[in-house]
Amino acid sequence: MTALREAMALLLGGDADIWWTIGATLRFSLSATFFSALLGVPSGALLFLSRFRGRRIAVAFMNACMAIPTVVIGLFVYSLISRSGPLGSLNLLYNPGGVILGQSLLAFPLITAMAYTGLQKLDPRYHETLLTLGASRRRRMSAILREGRLVVLQALLIGFGRIIGEVGVAMMLGGNIHRQTRTMTTAIALDAGKGEFERALALGLVVLSLALIINLLSQLVVRDA
């Protein structure tokens, strides 16, 4: 219990390193969610709107991708952005850009699949109405995303939650560099290793609260949708 009290004191006392780490984590996670959604939401909508051969395979593939361990994604992106990799000249490794790239890829299949399954639960009359009015696919996509905006919001929340809680990508691509790429989860790993459990606990509390808030929000969203 003393550890918990000390953890709270660190948070409330405005420990600069801890708050920097929280800020950076939010920055990385929000950016990654944004880029991931930019690609994932239209992909999910396309899967929903199109009736092409192999759509089932594509959906199954996306679902399978959700289960890829974060370190595998990290490893894959590492080989791309390492000095000897094809994107080495972009200087992304051990920089925020690398973390954001990796986390975007991590959340992409999740957001795609969530958007797809969410839209499927939407009242089918919306899509039928768009079809009967002869709307183009582009029009249908924008209209269906507008009607399914809560579904999209939920997909974003879940993607964000996945990103904020992951450690593999942030560690491998960011390198856990103090005040540059250190995120809450990598800092927890470090502080626990150093035996500084109060610091780890302080960040753990923040991650836990965020996870709770995100889950509550996404459940509220579902109820409204």
């Binding site: 390492s82 000095r83 490794l93 051990y94 450690v167 560690m171 390198g175 856990n176 560099i177 103090h178 005040r179 540059q180 250190r182 990598t186 800092a187 927890i188 790993a189 470090l190 626990a192 290793g193 150093k194 035996g195 500084e196 459990f197 780890a200």
Partner: protein, 290 residues
């Protein structure tokens, strides 16, 4: 005979282990009489060197004790000792060890062996470290150049060694704005030795490492040894048995057996005979007194 090694517990899992140990502590008091298990906490770099894997079967055969090894950071290893979750601690961070002893956590502390640190960097050595005379000077050169330096930043023994060299050089690289004057990109990675070595190679920067990890990985790294042999870079290892009075469950006899065996002619002979890539890694201390 059961042989258990708790391989490189991930740091995240550690608090769990500790709390579990605390929960079950009341239940296992009765096993004290002839407890055949000795728990040793040591640093990841020690574990990674392979020395313990090499010594373990000999120790078990010759003494009849089982040895459980928990490999974590130096800070966490000492914390495990202070909590009485392990019986013996094998670390290399003098200041922290003395703190540990004066806090009454340790029973016996003996110098066991020495290995050394080396300064690594890119082959073309833009900072000109190769030409320096000692580690302090090497760090000053690095600080004055536009290069990256990757620090362990995890309060490990290696990190403490690095910090003492920065202090001797009169530089505080972590200080905000310190890099502005010099151009140094100081990266506090907060990761293990192997990860830091890979990061350094990837960034074409400099770092300080223990020789053991370097020898184990050098074939995979685009780095070269730029500075070595400095007496300041010696890395003395201590073996400390945990004080049993505070913790009934500490295996006092087992801890003593491990300490005595390691310091015996036999143990020291084995340590001296341990090689990585054909090179001797550890030099047993001539007179095992603190």
């Amino acid at each position: 005979m059961c042989l258990t090694i708790l391989r490189r517990l991930t740091a995240v899992a550690l608090p769990l282990v500790i709390s579990l140990a605390a929960l079950t502590s009341g239940a296992c008091r009765s096993a004290e009489r002839a407890n055949p298990r000795v728990r040793l906490a040591t640093t990841t770099s020690t574990e990674a060197s392979g020395l313990l894997d090499f010594l373990l079967p000999h120790f078990q055969r010759e003494t009849g004790y089982d040895l459980d090894i928990v490999a974590v950071g130096t800070g966490a290893a000492l914390k495990l000792g202070a909590n009485g979750d392990v019986d013996v601690v094998l670390v290399h961070a003098r200041a922290l060890e003395e703190e540990f002893m004066s806090a009454g956590h340790g029973q016996t502390r003996r110098k066991l062996m020495v290995n050394d640190f080396i300064i690594l960097g890119p082959k073309n050595d833009p900072a000109g470290v190769r030409a320096t005379e000692n580690a302090t000077q090497a760090f000053q050169r690095i600080a004055q150049s536009e290069v990256s330096f990757v620090s362990r930043g995890d309060r490990s023994g290696t990190h403490h060694m690095e910090q003492s060299i920065w202090a001797a050089a009169g530089i505080t690289p972590e200080a905000p704005g310190a890099a502005k004057h010099t151009g140094l990109r100081f990266l506090s990675a907060g990761r293990g030795m192997a990860e830091v070595l890979f990061m350094t190679a990837e960034l074409g920067g400099y770092t300080i490492a223990d020789r053991g990890t370097w020898l184990a990985l050098r074939d995979k790294l685009a780095l070269v040894v730029l500075h070595e042999g400095d007496p300041d870079l010696l890395n003395p290892y201590s073996i400390i048995t945990v004080a049993p009075k505070k913790h009934d469950r500490v295996n006092e006899r087992g801890a003593e057996a491990l300490l005595n065996w390691l310091l015996s002619e036999r143990g020291r002979g084995l340590i001296a005979g341990f090689t990585v890539g054909g090179e001797q890694l550890f030099r047993p201390t001539a007179s095992p007194t603190p």
